[in-house]
Amino acid sequence: MMDKHREAFREEALELLTELEAALLDLEKTPDDSDLVGRVFRAMHTIKGSGAMFGFEDVASFTHDIETVYDRVRNGELAVDGNVISLTLSACDRIRRMVAAPGESSPEEEAAAEGIRAFFKGLSAATGDRGPAAAPSPCVDGPTVQPGQDGEEITYRIRFRPARNIFASGTNPVLLLKELAGLGRCAITAHTGDIPSLAEIDPEGCYTSWDVILTTRQDMNAIRDVFIFAEDYCEVTVAVIDGGGGGDADTDYKKIGEILVDRGDINAADVAGILSSQKRIGEMLVDSGVVTQETVQSALAEQQHVREVRKERKSAEAMTSLRVPAEKLDTLVNLVGELVTVQSRLNQVASTLNAPELIPVAEEVERLTDELRENAMNIRMLPIGTTFSKFNRLVRDLSSELRKEIMLVTAGGETELDKTVIERLNDPLIHIIRNSIDHGIEEPAVREAAGKPRQGTIRLSAEHAGANVLIKVSDDGAGLNAEAIRAKAVEKGLLVPDASAGEKELFPLIFAPGFSTAGKITSVSGRGVGLDVVRKGIDALRGSIDVESRSGEGTTMTLKLPLTLAIIDGLLVAVGEDRFVLPLHCIEECVEMTREKAAEPRGRRITRVRGDIVPYIRLRECFGSPGEPPAREQIIMTSAEGCRVGIVVDEVIGEHQTVIKSLGRFYRDAKDVSGATILGDGTVALIVDVPQLVQGTEAAERAFS
């Protein structure tokens, strides 16, 4: 990739040199023209800066002193004469040589270049108190990525006080807090005491400051680095409050009450009674007006955080993990699912009754349920790395069988996914990797002929993206052959012969059943079973596949998978009396459809959305819901299988945390629904399997026409 940029730089540098020469010749006639001096300086500056970026360090260091000289000319500290100009012109020639044919200069040329260099160096430093002495070295004083250190966990107290005008620098303090949170576990307390009344507030000012208690393995520099850009706009103090060293947690001796109870001087009930009548120190301080409630809250957060860290360290010493049978976890998740259902019922009851005592309780239960749900899901999460390492063997065996040289590189093995998802991902990944080995990576001789390394590379990586995980399998092989796919698709009747399908439409066809463009059948693949299995497997996981490919450069398949299977975010909609849930991940937007708009295309099920013509499906017809549609219906735009299809419903109710219940064996032939869920009021809503519904309708239409 760098080569492409180098080529661009080469062209640019040659252009600049031509322009530079013209400017120098003009400058010789009018040495005082500041515009010309500016042009010369800028050209040198660009050659130097861009040269260093694209690996022409020799050009950069050669140009450095010339640039400095013209900077001084620009600042009126130096005047140009004929000698300077003719030497600059020879410097241009030299740069041209260096750019056009790097590393191919004769000793005489080298010597001449050294002469030019020495001249400009002398000139730039003549009275040079301001010329920078060192040539640019490839380093950055911006934020650096700190490698994770295997040091001990240290807890810091960070007080972050942004200046009132911090927003004027384009800095978002919340992002800085997020970045801190990314370094480790943290507790953040906001101080909002300085926020004035609405009448006095400057809406463009920042009045909030934060205390952050952070436990991390990173050092103090990593924390300082977070604020590196904003240092002029904020006050940051960082202090270590828990050094992680042993012994500190044990130095606390028993409390006085405990000692007295132990000695038998008083009993425990006495202590409890006395303590409950006593005010906490924080309350006393607030009452006396020395500090505000917030300050105390912040200090309490610090206390609690450090206590937790210490407690955890102790328990970590005792045991690092606990083995639990998987069924126990499944039961836990099921119970949490039930709880989510009950909780939404509670919410509904609370809002119907409109009872002021009930609503806060319902909200509290909601918060706890959410936390519990997240925790329960987290327990089921496993790093995907173990699966990745299994593929090393697969790649090794297959490549030797096919006489290819292939290396498997994995990244993001620590990415966590639901246990079930990981298990069910195994087969699809095997198929994709097999496909890459068999069809993607070429034989060593072919690769060498194409100017690629003999050894092919398959990259397997995983990363989080919102509520999804992206798993990418990419190879540096031959890439997909769009023409072969087109021919095969026409042969299979998937495509009309003269259809103008682009790569975006063509590539997904490789997942169609029985589709293979392999010239010969090998033991590995070529029988056209495989990729359609991948598609089915990924669909079953409510995921999607995206294919990118460049001829001769390779293919990348990206699997997008939800983090968990048991509970999804859905959109609750109504059709007549019936309720349906559409998985939120495949929804793009909702638009209104009036009766007139529906009537427009004379009975055909297409409509216009923002200028695009989009086909739609009426959920009412699919599920035979009784009754007439309302005058205003809603179209939910979905993107399934790479195309946009609208789904028409009566009403959109809103987002809904959907606990998936399977429908049981009796309904296993019900293709268009993937499950059901129980709503707050006890009714059942079906979860629509959008890709299946779209495919099914398409197939039916095709059969009909």
Partner: protein
């Protein structure tokens, strides 16, 4: 929706490298060849970030930063300036004008992305 970033640089190769790196990372990119071009292309159009070189013809990077900070529709947009080591006072000037952060040339694509992620969240 992917985020839109404007890159302003008079060097076509740097523009290409910055644009390529950002697009690979999933951002949308508008390119401008100098400060005047940048302001013309920007107008009131919302971008999520601006990456600008400092030394440019017509209108330099400092001018771009000042103009954007004066414009109500871009007052709070994060602006990253590309500087070189020998431009310490330029960097200071840029910071004073309201730049959000900076990258020192030469830089590698990973360094660029690290800064973009830091400032854009």
């Amino acid at each position: 929706m992917s985020k839109l970033i404007m890159t302003v640089d008079d060097s076509a190769s740097v523009r290409q490298m910055v644009g390529f790196t950002l697009r690979e990372a999933g951002y949308e990119v508008v390119e401008a060849a100098d400060g005047r071009d940048a302001l013309a292309k920007l107008g009131a159009r919302a971008v999520q970030m601006v990456i600008t070189d400092l030394n440019m013809p017509n209108l330099d990077g400092i001018g771009v930063i000042k103009a954007l900070r004066d414009d109500p529709s871009h007052r709070f947009v994060p602006i990253i300036m590309l500087t070189t080591e020998s431009q310490a006072e330029k960097k200071q000037e840029g910071k004073a004008a309201g730049a959000t952060g900076w990258i020192v040339k030469p830089f590698k694509p990973e360094q660029l992305l690290a800064v973009v992620r830091k400032v854009l969240g």
